[in-house]
Amino acid sequence: MIGNLVATLLLVALGFAVRNALRTPLWAEAFRRMRRRPLVIGAGVILALFTTIAIADSYSWADGKNQPTKTVLDRVFERPQERTYSPPMAKLTTEASPKPLLATHILGTDGVGNDVFYRTLKGVRTAFLIGGLTTLTVLPIALLLGMLAGYLGRGVDDLIQYVYTVLDSIPGILLLIAMMMILGQGVPQLCIALGVTSWVGLCRLVRGETLKQRDREYVLAARALGLGAPRILMRHILPNLMPIVIISATLGFSRLVLAEAILSYLGVGVPEDVGSWGNMIEAARLELAREPVIWWNLVSASTALFLLVLALNIVGDALRDGIDPRLRSA
């Protein structure tokens, strides 16, 4: 139940953010320009599709007492498990399907008889959770600390730099594995671990950009106008950081999705019962040794991963171009 509530809250928050963004001329203009490019629309459609799947996989309820909770996605794709693997487009063997659309395993089944298409779709929510939640928590921290360090300088700068330099001096993958050992496996734990290791790069970037913007004449002009530091930071410097932050955050998002896959592959990511692309790829590794080669498992998970990351990068890039007035061609 709590899961449903959280999902709804997140959706509402996202809706509000988009609505408010569209009301400011800066973002409205950016979106208007993005709509003109077919490639961006394609990437947007893919993202929308993935988002819908993630939402469908987030709402769950049980049919009665002592019954397992099932998400909308589970209910749509509910089918008995096969006894063994089968190639793509294989017919259902267990029984006649109640739903004609589900009579074939479009992408086949994996070594233990799970439908690959269904498993791939289950990985979407995990990817969004890992990428989205981590980015959402990292972004405010990195922005705040980076801007404070860059704008205030002196002691504040030294302190913040010291903290992230220390963090950064530990090899990332070792720190991640160590943290996962301490926190235990799980999606929230992985978000925390990834958050701790991934804010440094963004923070450093924001600090450098702030340093650059701080010495621009428009900041001096704003100060000459009598504006205070909070307003200059939020209203003048932050929008000028946005292009670089957005591109970095979307790239970061896709990097996080990839990191999840790698960590799950190494066995320290999300638990095995949580559907994730990393887990699928890890499972496929063993199956690759079989004769005949079971490749559809690996290919499905990798393609889904690739599509999401590519779409994110295209949209992020377009957003960056759209938001920067200097890059706009009239």
């Binding site: 800066l26 428009y218 002009a221 009598g226 504006l227």
Partner: protein
């Protein structure tokens, strides 16, 4: 027109801490700006003009620069005694500033309208209604045609002259009584320069503003200023009404500066230059700072720092001129 003293700077010293040592960027500068009048601060690059302006606004690049001593009185109140918050309230409201580079002094991510409204709201507090009209009025005041269309534009869609007009509109949004213009026309075309200067002059007359005009262009001084202060290496070497100083410069540096100006007399001849270069900030000469380049150099110039001599129509910092002060006193 009232000619009360608006801004009074006395013995201002602003030092810069650099890895190579302390640079006395502003070293004992003093002048008055009267309401409705323009004081031009003239000097070469590195003479401390901009540092003086930033010291007045207290917008110095921290932590390198610091005001060591002196007083900066606006309407009789010493700005150096104010807290950061009090100072912030004065900026924009009592004293506005425009900058050399209209290209970069507007925020590229916002429309002109947004930035004008921000300036209006900044000190206006709650009065929100009618701000749009006020913005249009401000743009009309700086002679921008089709102000409604310009309000919706981004800075990069405007020409340099238009941007400077917008900057002036923003600086004047809260009707400051003092306008500091730091080389407002340097980055503009010559034809636009004249327009902008005329605009500043007109607005000054309408609002009885005191203007501190920082420039290195003596032509600009001649056209727009009432008084002039010539700076060399952090000090004011000569100061007085424009007519007096320009017609008969007393300090050897001012004379040399004027002689090296391109004019009709020099047609077909080599333009005179001041011998030597402006010394770097770390090897300023002792005593009189101009003595290595001065044609009237005397022994005393290398040993004793000249005091400021008060002549009837001006002040000059030069050993060569100081005997004249005695004569002037005797005549009285």
């Amino acid at each position: 027109m009232s000619e009360e003293t608006l801004l009074s700077v006395r013995d201002l010293r602003t030092y810069l801490d650099t890895p190579e040592g302390v640079v006395k960027a502003v070293d004992g500068v003093g002048f008055d700006v009267r309401a409705g009048r323009t004081l031009a601060l003239v000097g070469e690059s590195g003479s401390g003009k901009s540092m003086t302006a930033l010291s007045i606004m207290q917008l110095l690049p921290e932590p390198a620069a610091r005001i060591v001593e002196g007083s900066v009185k606006l309407d009789g109140r010493d700005l150096l005694d104010l807290t950061a918050k009090q100072m912030r309230e004065l900026r924009g409201k009592r004293m506005g500033m425009i900058f050399q580079e209209p290209m970069t002094s507007l925020n590229p991510t916002f429309t002109v309208g947004y930035q004008l409204l921000e300036a209006l709201k900044c000190h206006g507090g709650a009065r929100r209604s009618g701000l749009g009209q006020e913005a249009v009025k401000l743009l009309q005041e700086v002679e921008i045609r089709e102000p409604e269309a310009v309000l919706r534009k981004y800075p990069h869609e405007l020409s340099g002259g238009m941007r400077q007009r917008v900057m002036i509109a923003i600086a004047l949004a809260n009707r400051p009584s003092l306008l500091i213009a730091d080389e407002p026309t340097t980055a503009l075309d010559v034809t636009i320069q004249a327009q902008i200067l005329r605009l500043i002059k007109r607005l000054q007359g309408e609002h009885n503003m005191g203007v501190l005009l920082i420039t290195h262009d003596l032509g600009v001084v001649n056209e727009t200023a009432d008084d002039v202060a010539v700076m060399y290496l952090g000090q004011i070497v000569e100061q007085g009404p424009v007519d007096a100083v320009l017609s008969a410069p007393a300090h050897p540096y001012t004379q040399a500066l004027f002689a090296s100006r391109a004019s009709r007399e020099h047609r077909g001849r080599v333009l005179p230059v001041i011998p030597g270069n402006v010394p770097g900030p770390h090897d300023w000469p002792p005593a009189c700072r101009f003595h290595p380049r001065c044609p009237f150099r005397m022994d005393v110039c290398e040993k004793v720092t000249p005091e400021v001599s008060h002549l009837p129509d001006r002040t000059v910092r030069c050993h060569f001129v100081s005997p004249l002060e005695e004569e002037a006193k005797l005549e009285h």
